[in-house]
Symmetry: D3
Subunit: 249 residues, 6 copies
């Protein structure tokens, strides 16, 4: 089925290959070593980074060299139209949140030279202030900025000789909605999507992680190829936006 | 012991009876019906209000007329210099947080005509973005603004005939530090204080709640009187700031 | 509004400034180092004290000198007219209980010279056997007796050179019921009260903690002054009763 | 091996077939419908009974006629020489406590005609105030008294036409210590015992439950027979003591 | 009442003194050091044993010599006709499961010379694949085989000089159904039983543990004697089957 | 980089495009409506399916037509070389397990016409008996067989007019190990892999879900294409094996 994307109407008038407006508000939580509030359309995620000396016990027991990085993701109760109960109220971590924070952790560990980090633990906290689709990709893209800021601060303070970030990391979603491939789904598009895919990639165009799933639907190899192409173009633009946010562009 | 407050040096240069700079950034979480980010010196608390139809089961069972209001308080992990573990990680609600959220709920219920609210539940969520002392008083003072915004919205939408807020509510801390009464303690002052007191009062100068405690110390009736006077002057200024924040002054 | 307390009818016929009958039944739990069952009208609280060698890990890590004191408060299921489910059944500590046990701990730490205690931890357990209002003030007043007994035992056994108790501590409630200030509210009065206040004071008339709250009501400075005066008179009598209980009067 | 029990020295000077002194202090928790504090040597257990209208949901769903009875058992922290942490502090019900409360519930359900009870739930709470061995048998023996008192009260109030208790129930422990059968082990004997057995029996000499276990030891059929005989004699005396406690002897 | 067991009809046609067919499928879980799937009629339990170096902290603190053994018991959700929710879903360990795993642990500790085991911990996991009555006796009988296999493996690998198993252990149920004593109750018989008893015995005919309980019923001394005789005959046959399973018969 | 797969040595001697031996042992848990024990090399997963009448409350509240399907995944403690603690022991569901069970549920819901299922809930339980890599793909591939068996049984019993399975579903892993693409990684290969990818596909060659992740590594578009080709060939063979297992081939 040939797609004719130029005539697809999106809920917010974007073209199928357009990102929503994205900006980073750094320093939102000054007690953190690095922090940013990423505004991605109507999605807003606070990314706060704290770095502690020492590593988890399992690393000591297994005598793994270097440091560690771990992430936590949570939706603030007022981030959704209907109030979302806190995990502690329900008594257990939400399954979806658990999955996303594991994803953020893996993605960011792929970007950092943990041996160069030394015996330190990087904590990334991603708290969603407003949810309009794409919170996990916003969290990852913002987390990279906050980690960069935190590590630059350690370098500036003479704690680290060099910034152990090895790669730039950004993420974006793509999907198939009413038969059309689209970049960066907002909530109403996501709810209507047959297929939803997230790409996490490096600044040099390599894949870190790829997750595509049909929602009570399936997809073909051709559709996969179209989504990959759209996603790569989105990541390229995010990489540039992140560089601006840390003052490199 | 006669106090000579004019010569007391405070950590940030304020006079003993001065508040820190306070401002309200409304609409920080647009999915909430009302929200504000209160900046109180270096303390920052997100106050988000969601209003749901219906009331808790116990109210139905006891056939209590009107609505309900409940509050939750949480410190974001990056709000303190050392990362604070999430409640869900520790598996239970922090005792201090539990105490503060009960306080916020009581204070705000005293301010609202719950019968006029009708069969609705007001959820107030207070998440501390940065903690530099006085988070509970900031949470209460901000919560009142956020609740007002949320209820005004219901009035504007025709859901409510009139705003059921009966009283304006603000809170401030006072304390005794190195023998001197001081208004609005920041973190380093609070850590050094012999006595710490919180006043929650109405716009008409009546008390809603009063909590004073010696930290491994005690205090006299005279010291109590001095603290009450300082506190009342601080509440008066907060009441005015809140009115500005909701466009009434 | 002028109060005319002499004509106020109380549920149990007391005058507004009268305490209920109070007595201490020491040694109720002989395996504890100190214990007392405080009978306060129809309120009964078991206060048991155990003293362990060593201090919590955070004290060691922060190299704080001396000992520690911590309290736990719980209502036995049959203490109320309707059975109160155990915390473990609900899976989490009751918010109100958490708040009260933190209060007991703070009050008692203010009374003890923790450095003289040495590297020991005092555990105070307050279990409510019957609840008829004022359980927290009964718990504090009884806890002081039980702690005194436990520390005297350590002195008698030669474990401690001197009793590290620096102050006597007692607590009492006051409130405003139907417009009248009253001392020591029982359950039916407490349920009808507009304002409820707890005073924790030392044997020398200094304040340790003060908590006053309007229940969907507010109070004036004059009402505050009246309640403080009533409360102080009640504490004076409790101080004397405690001294009898430990054989000093 | 022939036993010569007359020459066995017990820690407290009793003969092998002697019970410790036992008495019931009824009404210890007046808010409960029935309560007793059983003193069994140095073991003390508070047994409180509350009766609620209605039955658990599973009974309604399965349309089981009549009422229900359930028990909870807990050791107060100061009941043992070393403080025992509360279940809620550890976050889960102690395995041993869980086992004992299931035992109490089964034993008491065997004694009561649940159909005659009607659509009510009997809650039995057993809280150990002091533990010196035999807390589960004391809990069962005291629970029967407290349940009887509670049901008699319902009869007296005209709520029930007749007391639905069908059987009297008492329990006692026996054991083998240093090769000798002994009745009613106190803590030091229990700790030294090779075999520990609990008998729960009716007033007419029938078994409700029997639990015997070797502690890293085993026992023969002859030893079993000796323990059963001792146990039966102990239960007979308890049955008489219970009848005195409820005013029937 | 004289029993005439030869005319009793059982749900599966067995005589009252007959066991169901029993066989052991060893090595079901090869990553365990020892494992067996015990088929006991339609009851199936996976018994897996893992042995770790080291002992629990309490043993180190109390300086207890030798090793430790602990057991966990769980019913897989599809083991019953109606799906049984997992413990983690309900948030706490099932009371019945907790009781059974404590029983398995006690029984197996009685069979093993823990000092000869050295500083090791034996974990026994019993997971019920299909439940048709008698899961606890199947678990114990299978656990002994799995532990034997695991320890023999340690001996074969030269880790242990000799197998520290001191006794053979097997368990079986007996009960009274419609007035008749019967060996090895299946689910429908168990549900109809007035009395249910479990015997855990050694290969030399000594008792390790004995648990008999009336289900809303009671039993006499004569009935107890009849059940004990039946149970012993069943254990004898199990002992022989276990020896075949480990290649000794 | 050109791959020369014919010379790659795998830990078990397979060629890079070979699956491990796979077979299905149906009926392993007869109380389940459908069950299979999938043997996949040394990985073994019990897949049990129970079908209950009714749907979760959220479906009723949102008035969603048809049925529901949910999955639970757990590793038995003895499935790994070192014993894996149960979730209930740690007090919370393992993050990895939570993620995998959500994946199984999504995959199977994509395969079933939930409206045709009617108001029923399908529970899929996947318990890992032995883990040697690929447990999630084995769980999905086995779950499809068990669900098919369960639904066929409902059809045979006349409960359902037709089997609501719309698609066949199978899953397989691929990865890059030491620079070479390989199908179906066992544990030692998985531990050494730079990239790990799971493909879940239908019997007609469409994608349901795709998850690829670099483990502290990244991958190119060319490597992605090679892995997708290998994976598709593996799924084709699994589809045929499943058809044999249900008697269709």
């Amino acid at each position: 089925m040939a797609e004719t994307p130029t005539v697809v109407a999106r809920s917010d008038g974007r073209t199928p290959d357009a990102l929503r407006p994205i900006r980073f508000e750094n320093g939102i939580a000054p007690n953190a070593q690095g922090s940013t509030l990423i505004h991605w359309g109507d999605t807003r995620v606070i990314c706060g980074v704290t770095i502690e000396d020492g590593v988890p016990r399992w690393m000591k027991e297994q005598q793994v060299a270097g440091g560690w990085l771990t992430a936590e993701y949570s939706m603030l109760p007022y981030s959704t139209k209907d109030r979302k109960a806190r995990d502690i109220t329900k008594g257990r971590l939400d399954g979806r949140s658990s999955e996303i924070q594991r994803l953020i952790g893996r993605a960011m560990r792929a970007a950092i030279d943990l041996v160069k980090l030394g015996s330190r633990t990087i904590w990334i906290d991603c708290d969603v202030l407003q949810a309009d689709g794409g919170t996990r990709t916003a969290a990852i893209s913002g987390a990279w900025v906050a980690v960069h800021l935190a590590l630059q601060k350690l370098v500036a303070e003479g704690e680290l000789a060099a910034n152990p970030i090895a790669e730039q990391v950004a993420a974006v979603s793509v999907g198939i909605v009413h038969g059309h491939s689209m970049l960066d789904l907002c909530y109403v598009e996501d709810a209507a999507a047959d297929v939803d895919m997230n790409l996490i990639m490096t600044g040099t165009g390599r894949f870190i992680e790829l997750q595509g799933a049909g929602e009570e639907a399936t997809f073909t190899s051709d559709q996969l190829a179209a989504m990959l192409a759209l996603g790569r173009s989105g990541v390229d633009r995010l990489i540039a936006l992140q560089r601006q946010a840390i003052g490199l562009a």
